[in-house]
Amino acid sequence: MSAQPRLKVERLSIPGLLAPVDLVLAPGEILCLSGPSGAGKSRLLRAIADLEPHSGRLWLDGTPSEAMTPEAWRRQVGLLPAESGWWADRVEAHFRQTPGADALADLGFNAPILQQRVDRLSSGERQRLALLRLLENRPLVLLLDEPTANLDPANVDRVEALLLRYRGSRDAALLWVSHDPEQIARVADRHLDLRDGALHAAAGAAA
């Protein structure tokens, strides 16, 4: 691994929710984050994607976030929220370029899904399509908020395999919120707990 961290978070805090947090992710590293609901995991991810006012500083490959436009930052530091938003009627309109058959097949879809109406999709389908949409930007950091929460076991496998493959192809760093100990054991290089507004090494994990 190179000396330059992929993502560096220094004294990031959200007033009233999060004490200053320091975090470093190496290229290709997967850091799993767990903790009780309401502890602020989602808002920590939102703050790292610069969607929420915060104090503290962020770096991507040594470049501070304020030196990049917010659009460029968010294309490189991609957030997959627990509940995805869809602003057009049909699936296809949410992609900059029409996804190829291979990319769709990786997540268990075929081409007709693109003509579907978004409000007819199941929450699991929406979650997988939101991931596909996000990967279009080829982000260097992925912030994943329970990416497999609504999925059946076959699709959990598909999403995990895709994410691991993507990590390898791009040397991307993944900050992955998960509540499933088995999943964490499968994918994590490190595991932290967010409790009482601060990060702790998770019990029984190689921290």
Binding site: A49, D50, L51, E52, P53, P70, E71, A72, R74, R75, G78, L79, P81, E83, S84, G85, W86, W87, A130, R133, L134, E136, N137
Partner: protein, 265 residues
């Protein structure tokens, strides 16, 4: 022109009392509001009548400016009050009021100087009613548009933020809502123009005809007013929605719903 006596007005007022009595019996809870609104209207208009009488008697630009400012501030307050969610702090009042000022005052000035061309140009008999009609209509347009903008941004926050997350600029994420808000603000005046003369006889023209003006002259004034109102409402609404939409985001293109009232934080 046939003058109205106090008795004539009392006859019409009796009908309003009748309406209030009937709604009270039906238990709609509207009776009291009808009476209060009718009383307010009577007092306000009588006062305005007096103010205009004084203003017409001694033509002075300072007095006209003072009355105009008062009208603007009241309209600004009204725009603010009509938004279910509005921007916190001075912005809530400022954006609507400034947009109204820019559009209504400049259109009125234009009409007075370039079209009517009176001596002096601020002749209150023309300037005050003109400004009043413009303010009244821009007020409605801006209030509807800002209300729509803030409500839609609140309701569709997930859709907006989904686009921000993918690296779209804020202006692009809010564009459909901005367009929809401008539409909502302009629909009333567009409909009024489309229906004028067929479905409805506009109030100003009717007033002039009642006062004895030749119908064609009254119609020409009405056409002028309709054009001015459309322009004033249009530019005012565009300006207000543009400024309001910008204020919903910060310099890092974050959706800042915490800047709206009723957002809980």
């Amino acid at each position: 022109m046939i003058h109205l006596s106090a008795f004539d007005l009392a006859l019409a007022a009796a009908l309003v009392l009748l309406l209030a009595a009937l709604t009270a019996r039906l238990g709609t809870g509207l009776a009291m509001r009808i009476l209060v609104a009718a009383a307010r209207m009577t007092v306000q208009l009588l006062l305005v009548g007096l103010v205009l009488k004084v203003l017409f008697a001694q033509v002075h630009l300072g007095w006209i400016a003072l009355v105009s400012l008062f009208m603007l501030l009241v309209a600004g307050r009204e725009v603010m009050a009509r938004q279910a969610r509005r921007l916190k702090g001075p912005w809530g009042f400022g954006i609507g009021t400034l947009s109204m000022f820019l559009s209504s005052f400049s259109v009125t000035l234009f009409a007075l100087l370039a079209i009517i061309g009176n001596q002096p140009w601020y002749q209150p008999q023309y300037s005050i009613p003109l400004l009043g009609m413009l303010l009244g209509n821009t007020m409605t347009g801006i209030a509807i548009a800002l209300d729509r903008l803030n409500q839609a941004a609140w309701r569709e926050r997930r859709e907006i933020e989904a686009q921000l997350m993918l690296g779209y600029p804020a202006a692009e994420a809010i564009r459909p809502i901005r367009r929809e808000s401008v539409r909502a603000g302009l629909i009333p005046i567009i409909n009024a123009m489309a229906a004028a003369g067929i479905v409805s006889l506009p109030g100003m023209m009717t007033g002039q005809i009642l006062a004895g003006a030749p119908p064609v002259e009254a119609v020409k004034y009405q056409i002028l007013i309709m054009f001015l109102i459309a322009v004033g409402t249009g530019f005012g609404t565009l300006a207000a929605v543009w400024a309001g939409a910008r204020r919903l985001f910060d310099s890092r293109h974050r959706l800042r719903l915490d800047r709206l009232t009723g957002s809980g934080s």
